[in-house]
């Protein structure tokens, strides 16, 4: 059963259209993450769902109602804002109770629910404090508490963790995920941090310039990006791109990248008609090995090493293939000195993605399911 449905949703500010006809179907209890670079329209889309922005075109359905013209308060959604939007003059308890007070819920009932939520979020000892007396993480929790206590159909989050420091962000990320597991409320979460998107989402929606580039589970996007934008946006460090022209020899396709080097391609990505066509391939840093692999699918590509960055159990190798900079991620096995001697990497055709050089569309892309 779908819980939130966006059909051809567009948004214009005056003459300028910033969200272009978005289609998205969100299942009940699903955790959806909207991710994309700054200014791509994530917040605007979320705010249209919340009812804080008018929908210029299209249809929005929450539950089984079309809510385009329904006021935010009647949409049964709760939103957590980036700056938490806590009321500075109210105590933590009153902040959490705000939505219930507005709805004129009976006092003892409010008290019970606030205590409940405070327990869940470990805020019980802080209920009498003012927001100014809380740490960033505690404020964040109060903001979540205010949303939870309303028992909405849908949670909306707009970059709720971006004001926290890196360590706290990781901790809160895990808490949000646990909370979602426990409460099972449909959630739409906006972030520009792809790691956050990968770790939290049931499905990720990658947006770019007001359009959806791809929708899929984190692993689908990682393994099978629909285009070069998604390929370089998801994953860190980003996918390496190498361009060249297709040669097909004995029905085995490969990419000639110059300097006599070639990369074997998956046979389902190009056909013999594509001989001579110029394309771009993407290879994840994690899929490049410096130890030779054996088998027919492996290619060997020489590079000029520029820098080794040890990260602990892994290391990043920066290198040049011809004129193209690449980054590889390899295991160190507690030793990095040998990495400095690397001169070539090995990759399986299975792990090489091919994209059209002009449109950036994946050549071997198949919609999953």
């Amino acid at each position: 059963m779908s819980n939130v449905l966006l059909q051809g949703i567009s948004k214009s500010f005056g003459e300028l259209e910033v969200v272009h006809s978005i289609d998205l179907e969100i299942a009940s209890q699903e955790f959806i993450v909207l991710v994309g670079p700054s200014g791509c329209g994530k917040s605007t889309t979320l705010r249209m769902v919340a009812g804080l922005e008018e929908i210029s075109d299209g249809m929005l359905q929450i539950g089984d109602r079309v809510v385009n013209d329904i006021a935010p308060k009647d949409r049964d959604v709760a939103m957590v804002f980036q700056n938490y939007a806590l009321y500075p003059h109210l105590s933590v308890a009153d902040n959490i109770a705000f939505g219930l007070n507005i709805r004129r819920v009976k006092k003892p009932e409010i008290k019970r629910q606030v205590a409940d939520v405070a327990q869940t979020l470990e805020l019980t000892d802080l209920l009498n404090r003012k927001p100014s007396e809380l740490s960033g993480g505690q404020r964040q929790r109060v903001a979540m508490g205010r949303a939870i206590v309303r028992h909405p159909k849908v949670f909306l989050f707009d970059e709720p963790l971006s004001n926290l420091d890196a360590k706290l962000r990781i901790q809160m990320r895990a808490e949000i995920k646990l909370l979602h597991k426990r409460l099972g409320v449909t959630s739409v979460y906006v972030t520009h941090d792809q790691v956050e998107a990968m770790t939290l989402a049931d499905r990720i929606v990658v947006m770019h310039d007001g359009r959806i580039e791809q929708i899929g589970t984190p692993m689908e996007l990682f393994r099978n990006p629909a285009n070069l934008f998604v390929a370089s946006f998801i994953g860190s460090p980003p996918m390496n791109k190498l361009s060249g022209s297709v040669t097909v020899k004995n029905a085995v396709p490969s990419l000639d990248i110059g300097h006599g080097a070639s990369i074997k391609l998956r046979s389902d990505s190009v056909s013999s008609d594509d001989h001579g066509r110029s394309i771009v391939v993407g290879i994840r840093p994690e899929h490049m090995n410096i130890e030779p692999g054996n088998g027919p699918g492996w290619s060997e590509i020489p590079f000029d090493l520029t820098l080794v960055e040890p990260l602990g159990s892994e290391a990043l190798i920066h290198a040049m293939v011809g004129d193209t900079p690449i980054i590889m991620k390899v295991e160190t096995r507690n030793e990095v000195s040998h990495l400095n001697d690397a001169t070539r990497f090995y990759v399986q055709a299975e792990d090489v993605r091919a994209f059209d050089a002009e449109t950036g569309k994946a050549l071997d892309f198949t919609v999953a399911g």
């Binding site: 804080l52 939103m79 003059h89 705000f98």
Partner: protein, 305 residues
Amino acid sequence: MKDKLIWLNKHFRREWQIYVMLLPVIIWFIVFLYKPMYGLQIAFKDYSIFRGIAGSPWAGFEHFYTLLDSDQFLRAVKNTFVISGLSLIFGFPVPIILALMFNEILHQGFKKTAQTIVYLPHFISTVIIAGIVITAFSPSSGVVNLLLSKLGIEPIYFLTKPEWFRPIFIGSGIWQEAGFSSIVFLAAIAGVSPTLYESAVVDGASRWQMIWKITLPAIMPTIIIMLIIRIGNLLEVGFELVILLYQPATYETSDIINTFIYRQGLQGGQYDLAAAAGLFNAVVAFVLVITANMIAKRYSKTSLW
């Protein structure tokens, strides 16, 4: 002690620019506020212009006894408190309400026009304000009486009736200043984070609830500061307007301490008595500011100092 001196010396060397910037204010205070205080002593002297301030003989609290025995002075004190108390009660909330109302106007053009119209009277000289008031309430040709006569009511000689002085004075004061005073509150409202309202909208708050539960509490510190300042100035009734509007027939309700000082001192030449009245005024005002500040500190954690 010695450490402190060394510290001070270092401090001044390092931060002298700040003190240079402070200097104009200090000079202003000395020239316009502290130096005239020297003249205050005539309140305790039998002052004569010919003998000068230093040459006049001391008179102790004589003038104060005279004042406290004078029905006119006591009436002026009472009128001052009544007029300013009433303007506080009726006038203080008006700019706040105006600011809240402006904040609710969504159409920018309409908002700007409305604001300009209510700011305007502030920029008109008090003399002209008085002229407008006198004209408007004139028994023969004033708008007010014209309207009343349309309703079949006999013309009223508003400005000669003691019972009408206070409403007219307070009303015209509000008309002149309320708009302009609302700017402070508008600025405070502008400082409230818009996401607070968005969050409230999603939680289901109506516009009224947002005003009561978000805007008002958010500007409460500003309201309290303004209130302390107003209470401190409680005895500073706009005396130009009183002088321009009052007449012997309305002294009963219109004569305030400042007009009393003006009449005794400048018109009657009793400088020592006028100085004593002025000093009395200042001391009461001083006590009022301190009390207001203390109360505000105790109950709201907001205060001037």
